[in-house]
Symmetry: C2
């Protein structure tokens, strides 16, 4: 019998879903916060949880063998001072569709001038000026993992050209042109949209800086659905204020929630959402956990293993 | 030598594109309005034009053998009092992608609550509530021609269920369930989105009426990118005001431009655009014309022929 601690604000929902998933040899305890977890779950062998809730008790889980993150981002587990004597797996292959919906919602909002049309409507003004379209535009993906690949596929569906910047991989057939290493500025050149899906690692830190933003054409829109750490926020505000780029859409930030006095709140041509581009859906996460738990029982290697040194 | 009259506000652009298309045995004259057309083109054998500009001179084109409409909608040519002794072709297979961009721009705007998020941003409010998603939702297409088929394909890309209401055809494999004839209300039942791409014909006239709107669930959004004539506008206003449906997005209207005093301007939960969902792009239209002109020269049957009795 393996003891599982579910540590999430939605722990009850997870328990219900896991109980119907019919997993053998599993004892389940739940906690909605760290304090509760300390009371019921410090002896667990497996933890399924939200990273920021698990982190404070990570060093106290004496029997821990496996931690399954409910999110894709696992930066809370990566500090070198933390233990690495367990298997960490994250959620993958489930956020791509939702992030793609988000990205294309905002791309189409921009092309079809949905805000402007609404303004015309409120002014009782028949505005039959032609709008833009995605067809024929170029999107650049910073990072082409499982999420980037879905965005690339949607972009091809809308007849866009897709450029991809990756460390080395070139395994997504929907990318028309790949860029690596020092080709970052060449990659940025001539993009209509730059979308970052990068995690926050030492290699991605502030990769979107003044020089990258300066290499984008003035018509470009920057979208960040990865992690705030990949962006130099001051440089982005500068690029927006000087109209070096046409706009930005941000779902993630260096500090979340965004501080009340942050200049982003009133920066021009910036649309913000609040780390909601791809909610972690319990149905999806339970499917991942179930698949991995059956492997765990059989002593097989788990899927979606995080490489601590790489950061994802 | 065949004489072609180009009759369009963008006639110069069309002439330039046609001249580079290298069409043999063609004399081109251009006119930007009906008066100009009467001066230079009444003896043309072929007319390529905007329907509303061509209609006033249609009966005066004594040598007319073929009219190529720049638009999909050709209601201006259908009145039984007008001549039918020529071949009428319209623009097809070019608007689907643009209409799909429009429809999914507004669907994603609704699901991802883009207006609400912007309101939160203006209030400096971190709103991390979860939004909706297209995945798993059901879209119903009123009409599954070449445009509906592209919308269906986009819907499947976003993992939606697709229902289609057609006269009889069932040839789009992206439609999960077809409905015909008297099954209109069953078709409407349980849709998240109802999208009309119907032309304005005697059979489609006011098909979206109080009973169809009443059969939709209260969460449903109605989108019209076809023709205004397919909608009973009073019934739609009633359905919006009584919250019988959650909202509507309209690009087409009974009367265009929409009269200043029309109740749509201030109806609740209604977003309007101004017959701009799929602009007719000269590059696309010239490609159609070129293909058809080469057939015309060879004496072959033209593509995209309008059946006058059917109306499209």
């Amino acid at each position: 019998m393996a003891k599982l601690l579910i540590l999430s604000r939605h722990a009850d929902n997870y328990r219900r879903l896991l109980e119907t998933a019919d997993l053998p040899e599993l004892e389940i305890v739940t906690a909605m916060d760290t304090t509760e977890a300390e009371a019921v779950g410090l002896d667990c062998e497996i933890v399924l949880g939200e990273p920021k809730l698990v982190q404070p008790i990570l060093m106290k889980l004496n029997n821990l063998r496996w931690a399954q993150s409910m999110y894709a981002g696992v930066e809370q587990f990566l500090d070198p001072s933390l233990r690495r004597d367990y298997v960490l797996t994250n959620a993958r292959n489930v956020f791509g569709g939702l992030m793609s919906e988000y990205v294309f919602g905002y791309l189409l909002n921009h092309e079809r001038r949905i805000f402007e049309r609404y303004r015309a409507q409120r002014e009782h003004r028949w505005d039959s000026s032609t709008t833009g379209m995605l067809r024929g535009k170029t999107i650049g993906l910073l990072g082409v993992g499982s999420i980037g690949a879905v965005i690339a596929k949607t972009a091809k569906h809308f007849e866009m050209t897709v450029h991809g910047y990756t460390r080395s991989s070139e395994d997504c057939s929907d990318v028309d042109a790949y860029y690596h290493g020092n080709d970052l500025l060449a990659f940025a050149n001539n993009l209509d949209y730059l979308v970052s899906v990068l995690p926050n690692t030492s290699e991605t830190h502030r990769i979107v800086d003044a020089s990258l933003l300066g290499a984008l054409p003035p018509r470009a829109i920057f979208i960040n659905v990865g992690r705030g750490g990949a962006v130099d926020e001051s440089a982005l505000i500068g690029a927006l204020e000087s109209k070096q780029i046409a706009g930005a859409v941000l779902d993630v930030f260096d500090q979340e929630p965004l501080p009340k006095e942050h200049p982003f709140w009133s920066a021009p041509n910036l649309l913000m959402t609040f780390h909601t581009s791809a909610p972690s859906l319990p149905e999806d996460i339970v499917r991942i956990f179930r698949e991995n738990y059956l492997r765990y029982l059989r002593g097989e290697e788990l899927k979606y293993k995080v490489v601590f040194e790489r950061g994802y």
